[in-house]
């Protein structure tokens, strides 16, 4: 690959600009859908962009008593991890830019960086709401991460590969895995919501208890990066789940339709429930989420070893 192409890959497509734009568009779609579910009109199409630009040009306050280096660089790290993850998933239904055996694990790790950074950022400030928010964010991380990974493991076992592109290819040629592994799909989708701290799993940033959780003290650029990073994760997460469970992503049209349908479902789930307390979240994941994913895996392994075609 020529240097020029590599630069394009990193900065414009499918990394960089494309993912940023995608993240903003999907944030808009998510907010609009939730607003419509709540009987409101909702934001205008350029709203996330306006929010992002405004935060960029706003003053960034570094509170007293924090490690300024960490405070400034954590949002950057979170955003960078999210952008890097975009390179391994079949963005827009095209072949991922990079692929190696085990890139699924790398991607899941990169997606986790976001929550870690938020947790550390919260712990870095001396603000009480941030501290409680950080503790909750990390608690939630330990709660959903294992079931989420288990849920992604199912398709990987079926495809017999750790490569996202190969799993995507396998999914295109077989029955949709949402049919063969409904439990895994459910856990993965809800896991994504937990990862993104969307309602009802928004205890780490429960407004009425701890203001904005770990991000309470962030203003300006830091907040903009964290928000953008989260949008990108939403974008990537939806891509990943539709590639695995909704029959793979063969072309941009499929990509658009499948991810938007998933977004519709998550938006519906967001507006249907009251917020779970953090203890309820943990309970839900370990008692139900992990169990479901394990049962799914067990069934899968048994079927696969006994030679039932899937």
């Amino acid at each position: 690959m020529s240097t020029f192409l590599i630069i394009v890959t990193y900065l414009i497509f499918p990394g960089g600009l494309f993912v940023v734009a995608g993240g903003l568009v999907y944030e808009y779609a998510d907010r609009k859908l939730v607003a419509r579910f709540q009987n409101r009109v909702g934001p205008r199409w350029f709203q996330p962009l306006a929010d992002f630009v405004k935060l960029l040009v706003k003053e960034e306050i570094v509170p007293a008593g924090v490690n300024a280096g960490l405070f400034v660089w954590l949002p950057v790290a979170a955003l960078a991890a999210a952008l890097a993850a975009a390179l391994y998933v079949p963005m827009a239904g095209l072949r991922p830019s990079w692929s190696f055996n085990g890139d699924l694990i790398a991607t899941v790790y990169l997606l986790m960086m976001m929550t870690l950074c938020i947790g550390v950022a919260g712990a870095n400030t001396s603000d009480r709401f941030s501290l409680v928010g950080a503790v909750r964010a990390l608690t939630q991380l330990f709660a959903y991460e294992a079931p989420f990974l288990l849920a992604l493991l199912g398709p990987a076992i079926l495809a017999g590969s750790w490569r996202i592109s190969e799993i995507n290819g396998y999914a295109q040629g077989h029955l949709w895995m949402i049919v063969t592994q409904p439990l895994g799909f459910l856990v993965a989708l809800v896991g994504l919501m937990g990862k993104l701290e969307l309602p009802p799993f928004d205890a780490p940033e429960a407004e009425t208890e701890i203001v904005s959780g770990a991000l309470t003290e962030y203003s300006g650029r830091g907040l903009a990066f964290f928000r953008l990073g989260r949008d990108i994760e939403l974008f990537i997460g939806l891509t990943l789940i539709s590639a695995f469970y909704l029959g793979g992503l063969a072309n941009p049209l499929q990509f658009l339709v499948k991810t938007l349908v998933l977004l519709l479902v998550t938006a519906g789930l967001q507006s249907l429930f009251a917020r779970l307390r953090i203890d309820q979240t943990v309970g839900l994941w370990w008692r139900i989420g992990a169990l479901l994913a394990l049962v799914q895996l067990l069934i899968l392994v048994i079927l696969k070893t006994s030679g039932v075609p899937l």
Binding site: R40, G42, P43, R44, Q47, A50, K58, I61, S126
Partner: protein, 166 residues
């Protein structure tokens, strides 16, 4: 140099555009009777839905651009009002909702009330009424944005805040 000036202008225009299209609010009640507060909340709800204009109500002053104040300033709330204002990142604006916040209203002259909000912090827009209707509150925000659009002067507020840790 010749290239830098248009770029600077472009950034300024983008900044102004984004500011006008994304006013985030934080609400502080410094002694109000609640009437204004429930009308502010009502602007979030389906009939008025201010998210249409990009207006969002946040809990943390750090996230907000506009401080929406209600009520006269009581002795006890004064320091808090100043602290909340100082915690906001520049550029920041203040909208006062209701007659009490404008002048002290019926509570004018009271020993525990220091008067209107502008006795304590600088105010950009006053929305009179007891309480103002949600439409007037939205109009107040629009007035602020119009003012912002038309003013050539740079937004006020200290360039760098004196940090007041919470």
């Amino acid at each position: 140099m010749a290239v830098q000036i248009p770029l600077r202008k472009l950034i300024d225009r983008a900044a102004l555009w984004s500011r006008i299209n994304s006013p985030w609010l934080v609400h502080f009640n410094s002694g109000s009777c609640n009437g204004c507060d429930i009308e502010i909340l009502a602007t979030l709800t389906p009939r008025y839905d201010v998210e249409r204009f990009g207006i969002k109500l946040w809990g943390s002053p750090r996230h907000a651009d506009v401080l929406v104040c209600t009520g006269p300033v009581t002795r006890q709330a004064r320091d808090r009002l100043i602290r909340v204002y100082e915690q906001m990142p520049a550029p920041k604006f203040v909208i006062v909702v209701g007659s009490c916040g404008t002048t002290g209203g019926v509570f004018q002259g009271c020993y525990n009330v220091l008067g209107g909000i502008n006795e304590v912090i600088p105010v950009d827009v006053f929305v009179p009424g007891c309480p103002p209707r949600p439409e007037s509150i939205i109009d107040g925000v629009v007035q602020l944005l119009t003012k912002l659009k038309n003013s050539a002067a740079p937004p006020k507020g200290p360039a760098r805040n004196q940090e007041k840790s919470a």
